[in-house]
């Protein structure tokens, strides 16, 4: 069963949805409290986030630094635009690879649904090329994880 969906919309959007068996408050906190974020926002196995700055207020800073523990790593910076506690977050973010990618505007909504939460994350990229590049970068990291798994199998 796949609980997550990832779709592209129009020329510049990427929409991700996911359901959680927890309250919108808990899911919102897990997206805004550094000690919680550092436990799950990690990507492929073996990666950690030693630096996690998350100032959950309008104008507040976001900075996530990831490392694979073998000298590899990258970081993301961003700023909060709007926060409605437990319901909605709007922020800007960019990856540094090491040059910064164009700003990605991310709107995340947390909606009560039965006993759980439906999270909808809507990303807006400046243009179709940037979106293609972002998906390609994501694919790179996904592929890397898959190659690592493949290596451990052969």
């Amino acid at each position: 069963m796949s609980k997550m969906t990832l779709t592209i919309e129009g020329d510049t959007h990427v929409v991700i949805t996911r359901r959680f068996a927890a309250s919108p408050e808990a899911v919102y906190r897990a997206h805004t409290e550094p000690s919680l974020i550092q436990k799950w926002l990690l990507g492929p196995d073996g990666w950690t986030m030693p630096v996690c700055v998350n100032e959950a207020r309008p104008g507040g800073t976001i900075r996530y630094e990831w490392t694979d523990g073998k000298g590899g790593g990258f970081h993301l910076t961003g700023e909060y635009l709007e926060l409605v506690p437990f319901g909605r977050i709007v922020h800007l973010e960019r990856m540094h690879l090491p040059d910064p990618t164009p700003d990605n505007r991310v709107e995340t909504r947390f909606e009560q649904e039965a006993a759980g939460t439906l999270m909808t994350m809507r990303m807006t990229l400046p243009n179709a090329e940037t979106r293609a590049a972002m998906l390609a970068t994501g694919m790179e990291h996904g592929m890397e994880a898959s190659y690592v798994r493949l290596e451990s199998m052969i």
């Binding site: 796949s2 609980k3 997550m4 990832l6 592209i8 020329d11 991700i16 996911r18 959680f20 068996a21 927890a22 309250s23 408050e25 808990a26 899911v27 906190r29 897990a30 919680l36 436990k39 799950w40 926002l41 990690l42 990507g43 492929p44 196995d45 179709a128 090329e129 940037t130 979106r131 293609a132 590049a133 998906l135 390609a136 994501g138 694919m139 790179e140 990291h141 996904g142 592929m143 994880a145 898959s146």
Partner: protein, 112 residues
């Protein structure tokens, strides 16, 4: 795919993967591909030749232009990458499920 080795070596290059990701959004000319990747047109043409040879893209003639689009095999390859991206994200959210489960007993801890 007819020749898996050729396809894999074509896919081994990040620029070529990015070009395929761009073509997943629709047909494009060499000039349209060269701009976002900040590459010269001859450099893009070389990558396109490799992709075409691997059966990942097809090109048609339109006057002096030769716009390219994904071959059905190319679409399958990009679908596979999207599936892998989904998998990496899904892994994060599976971890988040565990974090949330551990948080449950704390719910209401701020209540008097």
């Amino acid at each position: 795919m007819q020749n898996l080795d050729t396809a894999f070596s074509a896919l081994a290059d990040p620029t070529r993967r990015a070009i395929l990701a761009r073509l997943a959004l629709g047909e494009a000319t060499v000039m349209e591909l060269a701009n976002p990747f900040e590459m010269t047109q001859p450099a893009v043409s070389r990558h396109l030749k490799v992709l075409e040879g691997a059966g990942l893209i097809v090109r048609r003639v339109e006057g002096t232009k030769r716009p390219c689009r994904l071959a059905p095999n190319g679409i399958a390859a990009v679908d596979q990458w999207l599936a892998m991206l989904r998998e990496a994200l899904a892994q994060n959210y599976n971890r988040l499920d565990e974090v949330l489960a551990a948080m449950q007993p704390e719910t209401g801890k701020d209540m008097p």
